[in-house]
Amino acid sequence: MHEFSVAQQLVLAASQAVPRPELVREVGVRVGLLSGLVSESLAFGFEAAKQHSAIPQAVLKIQVAYRSGFCPACNLTFEHAHFWAPCPKCGSQDTQNQGGDDVQLAYLEVDE
């Protein structure tokens, strides 16, 4: 629902990250499966937000990010798409879960 305002924040962050933003060709973003954002809407919002910005040439590349679980008993790290998930190996409910709930600017591709 608030994809447009997130897109605006991304455009601003990307514009301020490099000395010559007009040379930014690609904006690489990781969108968590649990961020509550719809990637298509974010891409749509980005197209609108980049007009009249410092990075009008930039193309948005979205990569989906999963949540990562850790089972201390098995010393096992696993990916999943829930806030919390039991260990897939031993079934333990005592797992630590993190990530997959954020939107991150991962990289910028800049023309030489």
Binding site: M1, H2, S5, V6, Q9, L10, A13, A14, A17, V18, R25, E26, G28, L34, S35, G36, H82, F83, W84, Q93, D101, D102, V103, Q104, L105, A106, Y107, L108, E109, V110, D111, E112
Partner: protein, 220 residues
């Protein structure tokens, strides 16, 4: 073409803004409680039942339009401020800009009613010390697993309109189980503002948060 790694994060950005805001609250010595939940789940009604029992309160209310909730709450508090969010679906830390330092100094408790919405406000912490998720029984006991972000963000779940539970087939045990499948140990209170049940536990929870907050208060 050169690839330049970046580490900007939306969550971190929002967290910093919220933290900065929380420092202002801490300095003013007030405890800020945010209420989240769908339209009509009973956020304003719960405040109407709570504020008369508390001294020195302020209220901030986010709604897409109209100041009806503020009119309802004004009689019970030092100040009541409405933020018409227009087409925004959530409040954010910058919305506190409408408050002056002297207004903050007037109160010990601040209640913030976020826009009635189970999705967006959860992702935008405003710097409240505690976030309370309200879900009313007519919404159904399966709502919790459908909106896990709201649960993950909450410090307490209040199930409201409990007196309606038998009429809407609301299974409180099922509700608790699904809440805890998302966030184990999250406290859950059941209450009815209409029948004035469960309100003592809610008041106790509030005072407990207040004393915890006073103990941990570090003013930098």
């Amino acid at each position: 073409m050169t690839r330049i790694p970046q580490n900007w994060s939306l969550k971190e950005q929002n967290r910093q803004a919220a933290k900065q805001q929380q420092r202002l609250f801490d300095r003013a010595g007030c405890l800020v409680i945010e209420l989240l939940g769908s339209p009509g789940c009973g956020k304003t009604s719960l405040q109407e039942a709570t504020l008369p029992a508390l001294d020195r309160c302020g209220v901030l209310n986010g709604d897409m339009a109209s100041d009806r909730d503020i009119q309802r709450l004004k009689p019970f508090c030092g100040w009541a401020i409405q933020i018409e969010t227009g087409n925004r679906c959530h409040l954010s830390a910058s919305d506190w800009g409408v408050l002056s330092a002297s207004e903050l100094a007037m109160v010990d408790w601040v209640f913030v009613e976020n826009v009635g919405n189970l999705v967006c406000p959860a992702a935008f912490p405003m710097g409240a010390h505690r976030r309370v998720l309200l879900v009313s029984t007519p919404e159904g006991h399966d709502k919790f697993t459908k909106y896990p972000t709201a649960i993950a963000a909450a410090d307490l779940v209040v199930i409201s309109k409990m007196e309606l539970a038998p009429y809407v087939d609301f299974d409180a045990d099922f509700a608790r189980e699904s809440i805890h499948s998302i966030k184990p140990h999250l406290p859950v209170l059941e209450l009815s503002v209409r029948q004035q049940t469960g309100l003592e536990a809610w008041m106790i929870w509030l005072y407990l948060q207040r004393s915890k907050h006073c103990q941990s208060e570090v003013v930098p």
